[in-house]
Subunit: 329 residues, 2 copies
Amino acid sequence: MKIIVDAMGGDFAPQAVVEGAVEAAREFDIDIVLVGDEPRIKSLLDKARCPAGKITVHHASEIIEMSEPAATSIRRKKNSSIVVGVNLIKEKAGDAFFSAGNTGAVVCASTLMLGLLPGIERPGIAIICPTLKGVSLIIDVGANIDPKPMHLLQYGLMADAYFHYILNKPNPRVGLLNIGEEETKGTDFMKETHNLLSSSHLNFIGNVEGRDLFSGKSDIILCDGFVGNVALKVSESLAEAMYEFLKRNLTSSIMGKLGIGLLKSGLSRFKKETDYSEYGGAPLLGVNGVVIIGHGRSSSKAIKNAIRFAKEEVERNVNSKIIEEIQQI
Amino acid sequence: MKIIVDAMGGDFAPQAVVEGAVEAAREFDIDIVLVGDEPRIKSLLDKARCPAGKITVHHASEIIEMSEPAATSIRRKKNSSIVVGVNLIKEKAGDAFFSAGNTGAVVCASTLMLGLLPGIERPGIAIICPTLKGVSLIIDVGANIDPKPMHLLQYGLMADAYFHYILNKPNPRVGLLNIGEEETKGTDFMKETHNLLSSSHLNFIGNVEGRDLFSGKSDIILCDGFVGNVALKVSESLAEAMYEFLKRNLTSSIMGKLGIGLLKSGLSRFKKETDYSEYGGAPLLGVNGVVIIGHGRSSSKAIKNAIRFAKEEVERNVNSKIIEEIQQI
């Protein structure tokens, strides 16, 4: 299996990406193609003592910066690592594409170049997130910031297939992220989406609130990409802030310091359970190909885990399951 | 000073409200008027051994339920605790109104009955929230779910006055909650709001992201009421979930259990710093009167703290500061 990796994407690229890719190549049975500035990548690969033959470099002379508008940038920068990388997937020169770069540009390039699955009008980024009762799937967290109600229904159908066939839970509960549980709550967009979901064959449990993201009340949480993105970043921020609050409080007394020694393994498990980089990547559902999106702040560890996730997504054959699900309607 | 309290508002009303009010009357130098079902409130007051003379009851025969649409409910239920309570403020029979009931109905009744401050077109709910570097003020978290860019500018002006005169920090940094830092990010609404804020005299630092809610990067965070409400509830949910994760991890081993004993005071400080009920209430800025909104799930402790907050808001004379600020433009 061959994973195409955007070596120039993310705040710490190319270094963190190359290091993460080298670790992934060591640990997993895959080949990796790093797309980007060949001389820079090769020099980093030499330093990282890359395992022979498992990583190749595909040169791309341009970089789409985080601040560039998505549609214009992919039109103007045909030689960017994102456009070149997506094109490799299109030409079947690789099985999956991963980027921690400009999310809008990845979404736009994937949509235009790979096309969409039958019945899907817009792709959505799905996050699998730990809850007190297992996991939940939140879609969309940033691909589509001004969606139509019909797009949220399509996200629901894709997430349903994902939960059923990939997470092995048929008939998952579907909730709509709103500011109150009652169907009278929210904007006109929310009310229209609520109606559409109510008359679908999905196991729609109605509106859920921000507090239900981690409660496990709903297996699938549908939202527009703007709200989903804010919610996701608030979560990360709060997890970090709470860890910091906790450390301050626990180390402010001698008894606390003594206690912390006894708790080390519990605390590191706690940190692991709430650490974004353990998950690494999020699937872009709806495009005709396996595209995984990483966090802009991805560390080499996050990159490694995202590449592992890309490999698993290819093995799981997600898209054929989604197509099956949608054709049954 | 006299605080008018909606005894029928909130998931645990009237019991939690009456108990919280009794505690507040014991601890603080205030009079309280409980508005709602007189027989029920009086029987609860008898049980709670209320200090003589500090709490009176004002009968209101109707209740606006959480699920009722705001505008219709206040028009139809003239004898509801919310409408009667706001009217008491309007008639100067009290200095502040507190409710943990239907937020939309409180916002709507306050706007229509008390009127708005000069130059303000829509009120906004502000939350003062702890960060790693102090506090930040987030507005709006649920009063106005479909705002115009001009409303967010007005929220910025009110928050600026609040930060300057109440939190004693002149020229606070103002950020706009968006899905990326670059000014090209977000919906058309976000871009228009960004332009408006850039050309104002506010200390506008540009877009901030969900992750900046707790980082302290910005003193004031502006957002529409839908996004703000989701962000707030995500935070509460995650704080609770993390506390639960932590407890599970810490008590899963003998060493962990030993450690937890040594850490008790640190952990309870941690819980206190992240516990919503310590703050209790959020001011509805922009209405011509002091109106404090509580969480639907308010416990008696949250109610007590919200009443204390209402007292402080009256003492701080917030509205005259906001009017001063806006007239200077």
